[in-house]
């Protein structure tokens, strides 16, 4: 379990992380979400023991990162932002170094390296120099070094950043596979990733924790949550007809689509489908919206900006 207690970090006069507190249980994939420069990476750097917090602390499986840093680091695997690696080494030599630094000796070293290599399908590039690898392979090497010692806590800073869609999918699959018994903390500014991967999401902006919820919970904050969007020929008529329903609060026409927002009464989707049948409209598309993360994200972070 991870417990962050008022983690704070200043860089000179700049307050990068401002009293962030949270607790995470095993089995959680926690997503840090926020604009660039929001303090996501700084928080991760403090959790992993790279930076000392200016104030506050965090406890990783019973080990305080300030007073018991080495033990805390042993419980963690970390992929720093951009997956930095010793480019001049071969994949094998590099992973062996990490295994040895993680305290493995003798036959355990090869066994650990091989297990990680299998998991990330790196066998074909084992002997290759890291700097000659493609971006996707480099990222996989970075992940391999993070999971080598099968840590209960994984901290991955933008694990899919800069990868192509197939590689992103691959990395997400890997994270999901490992998620059941670990705590995985990822940071991202890709919103779809939160929905695809995380069981819990935190929005961080200007160093402050602004929202801490499940992805579904965040979606429910959206104006679009349970709204109904449809496309048909005569948008204006439909808008005035649907806007008159008790179940609807508001209508909006944007880019050839009509969106009806729910009021607090009844079931809007049922009401809309009933009206469509009654009026005999030709509807090309009909969609019940779960909510739009980008809109929630903007609302939450803009409020912080204004405050």
């Amino acid at each position: 379990m991870i417990e962050a207690k008022s983690l704070t970090r200043r860089y000179g006069p700049l307050l990068a992380v401002d009293k962030i507190s949270f607790a995470v249980e095993p089995g959680t994939v926690l997503g840090f979400l926020g604009p660039n420069g929001a303090g996501k990476s700084t928080t991760m750097k403090m959790l992993t023991g790279f930076l000392a917090p200016t104030e506050g602390t965090a406890v990783i499986h019973g080990h305080d990162i300030r007073t018991d840093s080495l033990a805390a680091r042993r419980k963690m695997g970390y992929l720093p932002e951009g997956a930095p690696l010793y480019g001049e080494l071969s994949v094998e030599r590099f992973l062996k170094f990490v295994a040895e630094a993680r305290g493995f000796r003798g036959a355990d070293v090869s066994q650990r390296v091989n297990a990680a290599v299998d998991r990330l399908s790196l066998a074909e590039v084992m002997g290759q120099t890291i700097e000659t690898l493609s971006k996707g392979f480099k990222r996989r090497v970075g992940l391999a070094q993070a999971i080598l010692h099968d840590p209960p806590v994984l901290v991955l800073d933008e694990p899919t950043d800069g990868l192509d869609p197939n590689q992103k999918h691959e990395v997400r699959r890997l994270i999901r596979d490992m998620a059941s018994d670990k705590i995985i903390v990822i940071s991202t500014h890709i919103l779809e990733e939160v929905d695809a991967l995380c069981t819990r999401a935190m929005i961080i902006a200007r160093g402050r924790l602004l929202a801490d919820d499940t992805p579904a919970g965040l979606l429910a904050r959206s104006r679009y949550h349970n709204a109904v969007t449809l496309t048909l020929d005569d948008l204006e008529t439909a808008a005035s007809r649907l806007g008159a329903l008790v179940e609807s609060r508001e209508v909006e026409i944007r880019r050839g689509k009509l969106t009806v927002f729910p009021s607090s009464q009844g079931n809007l989707f049922e009401a809309v489908t009933r009206t469509i049948q009654e009026e005999g409209w030709q509807v090309d598309q009909l969609q019940l919206e779960a909510g739009r993360l980008d809109e929630v994200f903007r609302t939450v972070t803009d409020t912080a900006e204004a405050a």
């Binding site: 992993t48 680091r73 963690m76 970390y78 720093p80 010793y86 001049e88 993680r102």
Partner: protein
Amino acid sequence: MNNLGVILRRELASYFATPVAYVFIVIYLIMSAAFTFYLGGFYEREIADLEPFFRFHPWLYLFLVPAIGMRLWAEERKYGTVELLLTLPVTPTEAVLGKFLAAWLFIGLGLLLTFPIWITVNVLGNPDNGVILAAYLASWLMAGGFLAISACLSAATRNQVVAFILSVVVCFLFLLSGLPMVLDAFRGWLPQAMVDGIANLSFLVHFSSLSRGVIDLRDLVYFALVIGFWLMANRIVLELKKAD
């Protein structure tokens, strides 16, 4: 200190995985030979010793050791691998010492590869091999001093060129502080004790007495202190600057 060896081996692997090792060793051997034979007048002196070989080591190291030392931390910081290294269960002391020792051993290897000159002088005459051994030790210790300075300054920047220039300047000051031209600048306004102190900081003074075969404990302690001081400074600078 379990991980000292692990870091040391990784560092050495990096030297030999890049041209750094080969370029350094080849240049070092060529330059030291050129200095010995052309500037030092090894043959013309007709004395069977290695004084003309060791005499130029301070000047050779002035440029070559910062060239090795400049990458130690600046490169790690530039590529972000310092974050990887220092989030492994490795203490900063292990990291600083491991990197320093790897580079120092590597320079030692270069020094050992100058053995043909030792064979040559033994073929040509009957040198005092004890003095030669002491001079080799002195040379390696002095290289350690230069290296500790370079390692510390390398942690202060992520730019290797800046690290190199800073290191050369600071090493140059340490080298020259015993020369009259530097001391004269202080003599007018500092008490004699402090001027002596500055003179005693000089690498040249301690190196030349050791390399004449006079193994004085004070000279050994001097180099040990210089190395220790700069490595501690390295730890502190690293701690302060790693976040930038």
